[in-house]
């Protein structure tokens, strides 16, 4: 059951992101761009520009961009409302080395905590060890770091659910079924039961080959495809291509999917890939559909924006993500819990996130994660479709 709670809750969150909406002013069209450009200014105001980071709480994501900005808005909002100094330090390049360098600098600057979304699976152990020895709290968000060093991983949604959601959405779109509301699982079972055509093939356009979190989701997509309802109807093999989160590469790969015409539907579990694939399919006027993880404002050109439209007139009838601001705020709450409330991230231990925006006070419980550490899971993935897109494009 994924739906009703989120359906209302995040929709109201908009009023929370006061900065963004204030900046975006009245002009609707201009909103995404100006909120984009306003964001880095926020960052510097909140500390990184002034330079002295001693005792600050730092969010270190994969690379700069809308995605990062939105998460940081939630993070700094929560932290500052509790009276703490924050900074955002995402690198220019999506590389491990760049992040290691930044973490090392942060240790020297004696920050209080680092919440990181790693760019790779390996490469951080020593610098994390050094950070731990210096008494710095380490948590991860979005893309988990080595469980040995983190207290807790803040996961936007369980990997299983992300894998399953995307496969279900893809299969439904391949069969021409509009978003069925909360129970996609049942909708898939129903739709496939009556399906008698050729075995459906799903293509995946991922980021780079060694992005752990994406690989995890792809693994979970394959797991989902093992369920009996797919047998003989959907090929268990995913046709994987890697676009390195680079425009040209993503577009080339996207075009290959289209030219080959071997897959029936494409999943792009990366925002860059999803936009690239959307653009390719749209420009070519292709019937092929794409779904995956995307940011609403970036996807508005490829998706239906009002309930009375036919979703299948668009290349991406529906897609999913999570509330980025909420994710940021939750990571901030987790960090503060470790610092102030003795939350140790052990399995079963709990912490409480104060009410934030329209999300009520919630208690999260550390659960075992697939990598052997523990994590808290924010929610199920949030599905964007024709009924709610119009609201979201101004907020995220």
């Amino acid at each position: 059951g994924c739906g009703s709670k989120q359906d209302t809750a995040p929709a109201d969150t908009g009023s929370q992101n006061t900065d963004a909406s204030a900046q975006s002013g009245g002009e609707k069209d201009a909103a995404p761009a100006s909120s984009n450009s306003a964001a880095p200014a926020d960052t510097s105001a909140s500390g990184s520009g002034s330079g002295d980071l001693e005792g600050a709480h730092v969010l270190l994501l994969k690379a700069a961009g809308t995605f990062t900005t939105k998460i940081y808005e939630g993070y700094s909002d929560y932290m500052e409302s509790h009276g703490y100094k924050t900074a955002e330090k995402s690198p220019t390049e999506t590389t491990v080395a760049a992040q290691v360098q930044i973490i090392d600098e942060l240790i020297t600057q004696k920050v209080a905590s680092i919440t990181v979304a790693t760019n790779g699976d390996a490469g951080y152990d020593e610098v994390f060890k050094k950070a731990k020895d210096a008494g710095i709290i380490i948590n991860s968000v979005d893309s988990a770091c080595n469980p040995e060093f983190r207290t807790i991983h803040v996961n936007q949604a369980s990997s299983e659910s992300l894998g399953a959601y995307q496969v279900r959405a893809a299969v439904l779109q391949a069969l021409g079924v509009d978003y069925p509301g909360d129970n996609m699982e049942k909708a898939v079972d129903d739709a496939l039961a009556s399906y008698t055509g050729d075995e459906l093939r799903i293509g995946v356009l991922s980021a780079s080959i060694d992005t752990p979190v994406q690989n995890g989701w792809i693994a979970d997509m394959e797991k989902e495809l093992q369920r009996p309802c797919y047998q003989g109807k959907v090929s268990p093999e995913l046709d994987k291509k890697y676009g390195n989160d680079d425009l040209t590469a993503s577009t080339t790969q996207a075009q290959a999917f289209m030219s080959e015409n071997k897959v029936d539907v494409i999943i792009a579990p990366t925002t860059v890939g999803l936009a690239a694939q959307g653009q390719v399919l749209k420009q070519a006027g292709s019937d092929m559909k794409v779904t995956g993880l995307g940011v609403p404002s970036e996807m508005q050109a490829f998706m239906p924006l009002s309930p009375d439209e036919n979703a299948f007139d668009y290349v991406c009838p529906y897609m999913m993500l999570w509330d980025l601001g909420h994710l940021g705020a939750l990571s901030a709450a987790a960090t503060l819990a470790v610092m102030n409330d003795g939350f140790d991230g052990k399995e079963g231990s709990t912490f409480t996130m104060d009410a934030w925006g329209d999300y009520p006070e919630t208690t999260f419980t550390a659960a075992p994660a697939s990598d052997g550490g523990t994590e808290v899971i924010m929610d199920d993935p949030y599905v964007f479709y024709k009924d709610n897109m119009a609201d979201w494009i101004n907020k995220m």
């Binding site: 201009a30 809308t66 425009l247 075009q255």
Partner: protein, 326 residues
């Protein structure tokens, strides 16, 4: 027949034909008109970059910063066309070229007048231009809905059934060929590239020629930046990262001598085609996505090897002919 095998691009052409046949057999889908056009369209940017890079290399320099010039122009154009939709779009064309020219001029000044080694100078400006692109864009991305259709049409609109960006590329190729082959400034570029000392006593000022070649390169790359974002309708400061290496590889594959003085537009054109086909071809082979780099690398080495080999055998044949006369 001899004229054909003796051609400098013989190795390349053989490679291209082999590739085309291979692709035809293994991935016939590549040959649907739409795929072919799309392939060309998306690789057109390399025509611009490689032509610009080629001009600089012939003059005896090298430009590592081309992809950053491209990013800077792409960002500025994206930003402007979004905020000033009322301005006639062809103006962005001029803006793009101007931005590129200014960047190129700066490179040319540092290399030509201040006499900094080209590799290092442009390695430095590479960082500077990319940084500027970030500052101007504030790290933001632009997405399709933020691009006016008229702007996008520079690339994806069609004239006579062919994408505009392809027309632009063809125009640049022809202009470059005429410029390099038949005009005084163009020949000056070869002259400086082949022997700076001789150029000096012939009254050709190296610093000016360098300034010119870098400026032209910059202008072409500036144009490339604009057409690139118009083509994909997505843009940010990081676009084109690493393209300079591909462009250099294309140039050398196309027979441009890395020490300057030699190179023809035709060779570069064939090399661009070859690279595009390799990229599209490999991405269409299921499971071969990860093989892309390895195969590209191997093909460049082999093609250059064939070129060296044909050059040598041509020379051997010449000698044999002379031997007969002895």
């Amino acid at each position: 027949m001899r004229k054909i095998t003796g051609n400098k691009n013989f190795g390349l052409m053989v490679g291209l034909i082999v590739l085309l046949i291979l692709a035809a057999v293994i991935t016939p889908d590549l040959y649907s008109v739409g795929s072919l056009m799309n392939m060309l369209r998306n690789n057109c940017v390399f025509v611009f970059l490689a032509v610009g890079e080629m001009i600089v290399i012939i003059s005896g320099g090298i430009d590592i910063s081309i992809s950053c010039i491209m990013a800077l122009s792409g960002c500025v154009c994206s930003l402007l066309q979004f905020h000033h939709p009322q301005v006639p779009v062809f103006l962005w064309l001029i803006v793009a070229v101007l931005i590129g020219m200014v960047c190129g001029m700066f490179n040319g000044f540092v290399v030509g007048t201040l006499k900094v080694t080209p590799m290092i100078a442009t390695l430095g400006t590479n960082y500077i231009f990319r940084g500027l692109a970030f500052i101007i864009s504030s790290g933001a991305w632009w997405y399709p809905h933020q691009y006016q259709m008229t702007f996008q049409n520079f690339s994806i609109g069609k004239t006579a059934g062919i994408y505009n960006i392809i027309w632009f590329a063809a125009l640049i190729l022809i202009l470059a060929a005429v410029f390099l082959n038949d005009t005084t400034p163009g020949r000056r570029i070869y002259a400086v590239g082949t022997n700076k000392e001789s150029a000096k006593v012939s009254g050709i000022r190296e610093s000016r020629v360098m300034l010119m070649s870098y400026t032209i390169c910059g202008a072409v790359c500036g144009l490339a930046g604009m057409l690139y974002v118009a083509n994909f309708a997505v843009g940010n400061f990081a676009i084109g990262d690493g393209f300079e290496m591909t462009a250099i590889a294309i140039c050398i594959l196309g027979g441009v001598s890395i020490i300057g003085g030699q190179g023809r537009v035709g060779g570069v054109f064939i090399a661009v085609l070859m690279m595009s086909i390799i990229t599209s071809f490999i991405s269409m082979l299921p499971g071969l996505s990860v093989w892309q780099d390895a195969i590209k690398g191997a093909i460049i080495i082999i093609a250059v090897g064939i070129n060296i080999w044909t050059a040598r055998s041509t020379r051997r044949r010449e000698l044999k002919e002379r031997g007969a006369m002895l």
